[in-house]
């Protein structure tokens, strides 16, 4: 018999866990995006060894399971003097994992910026910093937002792995609940609901953001040219 009262009884613990999940996810996404952006920029430099190193990093991260990376960081870290708290390791691990994917998303976005828009800025004497901030990044946002939101949704679900290194996030709390009550079905149901809720919020926000950054891309209206021509000639 389904005992939803259990979810209420464990409510505070679950909400705390949910909070930790959101914290790890948010901080992990932020680190991943910042690091991914920096990696993408460094990869544009005409320094071959640097490019190889970054490529190797991305290949290794993408080619190995997140679980193993996290173990290496948390359990293997101390052997090279890197002692991290579980939550810190979880956030950092998530950030490193995400950075490889974000770097690739940003690289695609960077390459998709029309060359002419950059040349126009160069020909006006704008510096690379200005061009990056004012021309390239806004253009990149337009083409990469769907992929960024997608990656963020994937990362919400990767947070469950953090429970394995004892980060007290939602999965961890849920497992505790299951172990104490043997209410496996309720636990799994509750968990699905929480993650679904999070992903739903992320994708809704993503759609809004997408609408916002692409609002200028409405198609040219048929009006305009004829009247304006007259003005120009007048």
């Amino acid at each position: 018999m389904l005992d939803l009262a259990l979810l209420v009884q464990y409510g505070p613990a679950l909400l705390r866990g949910f909070g930790v999940t959101i914290l790890c996810w948010g901080a992990g996404c932020l680190i991943g995006m910042v690091l991914g952006f920096v990696l993408m920029l460094l990869r544009q430099l005409p320094v071959k060894p640097l490019r190889w190193i970054i490529r190797a990093y991305i290949e290794v991260i993408r080619g190995t399971p997140f679980l193993i990376q996290l173990f290496l960081l948390y359990s293997g870290g101390p052997s090279i003097g890197l002692r991290l708290e579980a939550t810190t390791a979880g956030i950092l691990g998530l950030g490193l994992y995400g950075s490889a994917y974000f770097a690739e998303i940003f690289r695609a976005g960077y390459q998709a910026v029309p060359k002419g828009q950059v040349e126009a800025a160069l020909s006006l004497g704008m510096s690379y910093g200005s061009i990056l901030r004012r021309v390239i990044v806004p253009a990149m946002l337009v083409s990469t937002i769907p992929a960024i939101v997608n990656m963020m949704a994937i990362l919400t679900k990767e947070t469950v792995v953090l429970s394995i290194i004892t980060v007290p996030e939602l999965m961890y709390e849920m497992q505790t609940m299951a172990a104490e009550t043997f209410a496996t079905f309720e636990t799994i149901l509750g968990m699905a609901l929480f993650y679904w809720l999070l992903v739903e919020v992320v994708s809704r926000l993503g759609r809004r953001l997408e609408a916002r950054v692409t609002r200028f891309l409405t198609h040219a209206s048929p009006q305009g040219s004829s009247t304006e021509t007259a003005t120009a000639r007048a």
Partner: protein, 275 residues
């Protein structure tokens, strides 16, 4: 705040400046691998002159134009703008100019592109004001006011708040021209400015260019508009396979040139444009 005069056109001539040509191209060559796209080009553009580069596609006109502001790197020879070597230091052996020096050089040279290249996430006004803020260091209000005057000059004051996607090709190109003249360049480069336009929109852009020429702007124009070249240009250079095959006044090139390739090019042009 930087002071900005009402007009974007530099003084028509100054006694000291007249001696140095606006653009001086000497023995310029460029190769893409084994393909020689520019061979031994010599060309002088004086102050307030309009020089049109014409010729078949692939003849190197656009490449030559893009070498003038170093969007394209030339390998041999030298290009000077107001006496300053473009893209390289004066040392021997010459080295590439630092980014900062290159920017200083480029801010006096405006370029108008075939594909307009407006920034789609900025309104017409923001497009024009951007470099005033980023390059000239003007404050935002002053830049916006100046940008508005420039849009007015190309007849688009009413479209200041429109995004490029809402503008016709002709309007976009006029915004692009406003964006350039706002910087008060000494020299303007036009890379087939009307080639991407519907035929009925070509006229409005050419009119703006005529006005600029009449105001004394020095212009180098790559174009397929022979009418514009014939009526507005002071000099016409006909390029063929990376060389200047004919050079002179429009009359000399269009009517006096014995060069068979010029004849053939004009013949083809007339056939394509008659119906």
């Amino acid at each position: 705040m930087t002071a900005v005069s009402q007009t974007a056109t530099p003084p028509r001539s100054s006694a000291a400046g007249d001696a140095v040509p606006m653009v001086s191209i000497r023995g310029v060559g460029k190769s893409f691998g084994t393909n020689e796209v520019l061979r031994d080009i010599d060309l002088t553009v004086n102050r307030s002159e309009v020089v049109c580069l014409i010729g078949p596609s692939g003849s190197g006109k656009s490449t030559l134009l893009r070498c003038i502001n170093f969007l394209e790197v030339y390998d041999r020879g030298e290009i000077r703008i107001e006496g300053k070597l473009v893209g390289y230091t004066e040392d021997a052996p010459r080295r590439r100019l630092s980014n900062r020096d290159l920017r200083d050089l480029r801010r006096n040279v405006g370029m108008v592109f075939q594909q307009f290249n407006l920034w789609p996430h900025m309104t017409a006004l923001e497009n024009v004001a951007e470099a005033l803020v980023q390059v000239r260091g003007m404050d935002k209000a002053a830049a916006a006011a100046h940008a508005r005057r420039m849009l007015d000059r190309v007849g688009l004051a009413a479209k200041a708040d429109s995004y490029p996607a809402r503008l016709s090709g002709g309007q976009q190109q006029r915004v692009a021209i406003a964006r350039v003249i706002a910087m008060e360049p000494h020299l303007m480069l036009f890379d087939e400015p009307t080639s991407a336009l519907d035929p009925e929109l070509v006229g409005e852009v050419l009119q703006v260019m005529r006005d600029l020429a009449a105001d004394g702007m020095t212009m180098v124009v790559v174009t397929h508009e022979m009418g514009f070249a014939a009526n507005v240009a002071d000099k016409v250079a006909f390029l063929d396979r990376g060389r200047i095959a004919a050079f002179g006044t429009p009359r000399e090139v269009f009517h006096g040139s014995m060069e068979p390739r010029v004849q053939q090019f004009l013949q083809t042009y007339h056939e394509r444009n008659s119906f």
